[in-house]
Each structure stands twice: as structure tokens, then as C-alpha cells.
């Protein structure tokens, strides 16, 4: 069977599954204006975040990589960069980097516009024009091999490693079989399972880099003088039956299916199209981790949960996969795929197939529960001073 969908083919060759106009603030100071201006229509998607107008160079570089990556994501048809005007990041430069993909990009300075009210009015005028231009795009035939699929987990419990993560892993295997890319991340949640991932790496260089990154995350606990056990597994994970980080990690890596690990990219770095299974080095905080992969070019996300989660994303649709039957019952209006049937005897292959069909339908335009409810969490991972002083962890 040929796996296809209809998507928006962009000038740079990548295919979008949505046609949003992104409204990207360069700092926290422009975030509420970005949000306010976006009330103009559901097609305008703000990415408000907490980063300040001035950041250490290494942190700023990462923030800019995220914002540019979000603008370049093929789900974005056009973008507006909003700045207060005092930021160290140059809105024009960020716009230029996004415009390299061939899409329309504009900038707006709140200071130059004359303050907040005129800025919102001006932003809305610009957004109307950008939307008009983006709306010229039409869906056309696209192949599953053009999809970059991001796997994420949040609110894990014992069912995550038994049901939902293996189901997502099976869908990843199917997409990779069809020539696509699957990516998962959250390096702290490789601790205790890294030897399995290392064995699956395609070469020694990658294997060493992976082990080094996991060691750095573990050292970070040392550096901060904390016992990782207090935070990992989280109290919620523990209530759900997970005793140690090793147990959580062994369940978490099931999201990556069974194919070889072909590569590992930095936080928010571009993921290759047609690249097989590619890891991203991210923190364990799920919202930041999803944003990192979407900035890397992922068009669609599968998010597994045991205890429940409502997290979405403004740019990429998030498919919620429930592993716990009680969560499926209690939160079915936030869940897209029920993987808890695996606990009652369904095979992982059966549910993985169901999830893969859902993934293609969502690529084709079907809205996820998170999209229907306007759940669009966004956060940028901040490189901490201790990380900069330490070993470059978190890059």
C-alpha cells in the first residue's frame, strides 16, 4: 500500500500539513502583542515565550535557532516577527533566515509602531496581507516519505512502556519503512536505557556522541548537587508505578520502535527528511521538547500519556495517545488514539497500525483533539548559566 496524503508543498521542497501564519515574538516583551494580534483568526498562530530581551550569547543563539526553525517549519505558510525593539536579537536577521525557505515574512517593531495599541492594529493589517498570500497555497499529492514525525511522552506511568510508547514505536517503524523520518528526544529519559540505543546506532561516532550526551545530562544532576531521584521519575510517575529513572527510560525509548538510530541533532536543529530514526538532544520537559522537534521541522507529533496530558502545539498537530484505560475514560475528549486496548489483549501492531492511519489522516487535514480545543503550548528551552559554565549540556 502506498501511504500518501495531501499537503502544502513549499518553495524549499518540504511539505506542510497545515497552512498557518506564525506570529513569532523575539522576546517576552513582544509576546502579549503577538498573542493579541493573533486573535484576528484561527489561522494566525502566536508562539509567545518567556525569553528576555537580553540573553547570554549561547542562550540567545539557541532561542534564535528555535524561532527561525518554527518560522521555517513547512506547516507555516507565512510569518510575522514581532519585536519590542530593544532586543539583542535582530528581527530582520531572523526574518531573512526564515525567508530563505521562500515564504513571505514581515517584521514589526512595537517601539517604531508607537506602542502597544498601534502595534496590534498594524500587526493585524500585516497579518491579513500575509494570510492572503499564504492562502494561495493548495494541497497537493504528497508521500509519507516527506513526513517528519515527532514522538513525545508526558505524564508517564507504567502503561506508557507497555502500551502507548510501543504503539507509537510501531507507527514510527511503519513511517520509516515508507521512507520517512521519526524523531524522539528527552535525553534525561535515556538514562538507564542508553546501552540499548547505543547498540542501535549506525556507527561508532554517533554511539559515542549519544553516550556522551546522556553522561552530560547525568552529570548535570551532580553539578547542581541534586539527587535525580527527587525529580525523575516525577512524583506523578511514581504514583503511576514507575520506581526509577531506568524503568521510566526503558519504557520511554519504546517510542523509537525497532529501527537503527541514524543520527542525533541538537535542540531545535533541522531534522533530515527521509532520515529514518533521528534523535534530538533535548531536556525532559515535554513542552520544550515538542517545540524543539517542531523547530527541527517535524510536521506532526504523537504524544503518549498514561496519567493524562492536554499539551498541544501552535504549529504542529499533536496526536494524543492514551496508554492507561482510566485516562482514556476520564479524558477521552483530549485523547485521539486509545492504546490502552493493548492491556486488554490487542497487539502492539494492531494499535500501531491504527495510529499510523490516524497520523496520515491528520497529515491530510483532520484536526486532532488538541487542535479542536485550541491547545497550543509553547516554550523555548533556556541554556542555563551552569550549563554554559559546565560542559555545554543543553545545546
Amino acid at each position: 500500500m502506498v501511504s500518501t496524503f495531501n499537503g502544502y508543498r513549499r518553495a524549499d521542497g518540504r511539505v506542510g500539513i497545515r497552512n498557518h501564519v506564525a506570529v513569532i515574538p523575539t522576546s517576552v516583551a513582544a509576546s502579549s502583542i503577538a498573542r493579541g494580534a493573533s486573535e484576528i483568526g484561527a489561522w494566525a498562530k502566536p508562539t509567545p515565550h518567556q525569553m528576555g530581551t537580553s540573553q547570554p550569547a549561547e542562550a540567545r543563539e539557541q532561542t534564535e535557532r528555535v524561532l527561525v526553525g518554527i518560522g521555517q517549519n513547512p506547516n507555516v505558510g507565512a510569518a510575522l516577527i514581532v519585536e519590542l525593539g530593544t532586543e539583542e536579537s535582530d528581527a530582520g536577521e531572523l526574518a531573512d533566515r526564515i525567508a530563505e525557505t521562500g515564504k513571505a515574512v514581515e517584521t514589526l517593531s512595537i517601539r517604531d509602531a508607537g506602542g502597544t495599541r498601534p502595534a496590534v492594529e498594524r500587526a493585524r493589517e500585516v497579518l491579513e496581507d500575509l494570510n492572503e498570500e499564504a492562502s494561495l497555497a493548495r494541497r497537493e499529492d504528497a508521500d509519507a516519505s516527506e513526513l517528519i514525525f515527532a514522538a513525545e511522552c508526558g505524564g508517564s506511568d507504567a502503561t506508557s512502556g507497555i502500551a502507548s510508547n510501543p504503539a507509537v514505536g510501531n507507527a514510527s517503524d511503519r513511517l520509516i519503512e515508507d521512507g520517512g523520518t521519526a524523531s524522539f528526544s528527552e535525553t534525561p529519559e535515556f538514562i538507564g536505557a542508553e546501552h540499548i540505543l547505543a547498540e542501535r546506532c549506525v556507527d561508532d561516532e554517533l554511539r559515542e556522541r549519544l553516550l556522551e550526551r546522556v553522561a552530560q545530562r547525568e552529570e548535570m544532576a551532580d553539578m547542581m548537587g541534586v539527587d535525580l531521584r527527587g525529580a525523575q521519575p516525577t512524583p506523578g510517575n511514581q504514583e503511576g508505578g514507575l520506581t526509577t529513572i531506568e524503568e521510566k527510560s526503558l519504557g520511554a525509548i519504546a517510542k523509537g520502535g525497532t529501527t537503527p538510530v541514524e543520527g542525533m541533532v541538537e535542540y531545535a536543529e533541522r531534522l533530515p527528511t527521509g532520515g529514518g530514526l533521528v534523535l534530538m538532544d533535548t531536556p525532559g520537559y515535554d513542552v520544550e521538547s515538542v517545540v524543539g522537534k517542531v523547530a527541527g521541522g517535524a510536521q506532526v507529533v504523537a504524544f503518549t500519556t498514561g496519567r493524562g496530558s492536554t499539551t498541544g502545539n501552535p504549529i504542529a498537530p499533536v496526536i494524543k495517545v492514551a496508554g492507561n484505560p482510566k485516562t482514556w475514560e476520564k479524558m477521552s475528549n483530549n485523547m485521539d488514539v486509545n492504546a490502552s486496548t493493548i492491556i486488554d489483549g490487542d497487539s502492539v501492531e494492531e494499535v500501531g497500525g491504527r495510529l499510523y492511519d490516524t497520523l496520515l489522516s491528520v497529515a491530510d487535514g483532520q484536526h486532532t483533539e488538541a487542535e479542536k480545543r485550541g491547545l497550543e503550548e509553547f516554550a523555548v528551552n533556556e541554556v542555563q548559566p551552569k550549563q554554559i559554565a559546565g560542559s555545554g549540556v543543553g545545546r
Binding site: I162, G192, V226, L228, T244, E246, I343
Partner: protein, 101 residues
């Protein structure tokens, strides 16, 4: 589901595992046929939590997924709940690193 279902209520993910995951809320005193071995649950085991399939001494490795997930911090009887009160991670102990320095 991957693994071996024990008496319809527990899941052993690989043959090497010495703990099983409860597939339902299980009550203390319940007797479980664990592949021919009769195990009586010593306490209530909530859905998703683990019980020991064999006796473990303090410091023994706990196996799930065929991998070491923890080390016991006290002796554990068959049928006992295995969790943070009697087992701990062997990784990410920044608190201990601080003490050593």
C-alpha cells in the same frame, strides 16, 4: 501486549524479570499462579505497580524489560510490593557526588 501474562492479572515483560506489573488493582492475600509457582500478595498492589516474583536480598538487582531497573534497599519477599520504599535507582545520584566531594 508483549510479555507473559501471569494468571490474568500480572505482566512479566521478559522471562528474566523478577517483578511483574499489576494489570488491575490487586488485593492483599490474593493468590497468583505465577507460571506454576504459587505467590500470595502480601499487600495491595495498585494497577501499574510491581510485585516481586521471587525473594530478593538487600542490594539485589530488580529486573523488568529484561534490564536492571533498580537495586533493592532491603530484603523483599515474593508477593511484596516493589517500589521506592524498598528499591532505588543506581543512576543520577548528584546528592552523593556532592557528599563525596
Amino acid at each position: 501486549m508483549k510479555g507473559i501474562v501471569i494468571d490474568g492479572v500480572g505482566l512479566k515483560l521478559t522471562t528474566e524479570d523478577n517483578v511483574a506489573t499489576a494489570l488491575d488493582d490487586l488485593e492483599a492475600g490474593r493468590s497468583i499462579d505465577a507460571e506454576g509457582l504459587d505467590i500470595e500478595l502480601l499487600e495491595d498492589i495498585s494497577f501499574g505497580h510491581k510485585f516481586a516474583l521471587e525473594a530478593l536480598a538487600e542490594g539485589d538487582e530488580v529486573y523488568k524489560y529484561g534490564e536492571v531497573i533498580a537495586r533493592t534497599t532491603k530484603p523483599v519477599e515474593p508477593g511484596a510490593w516493589v517500589h521506592t520504599h524498598n528499591a532505588e535507582s543506581t543512576r543520577g545520584r548528584g546528592d552523593l557526588a556532592g557528599v563525596e566531594q
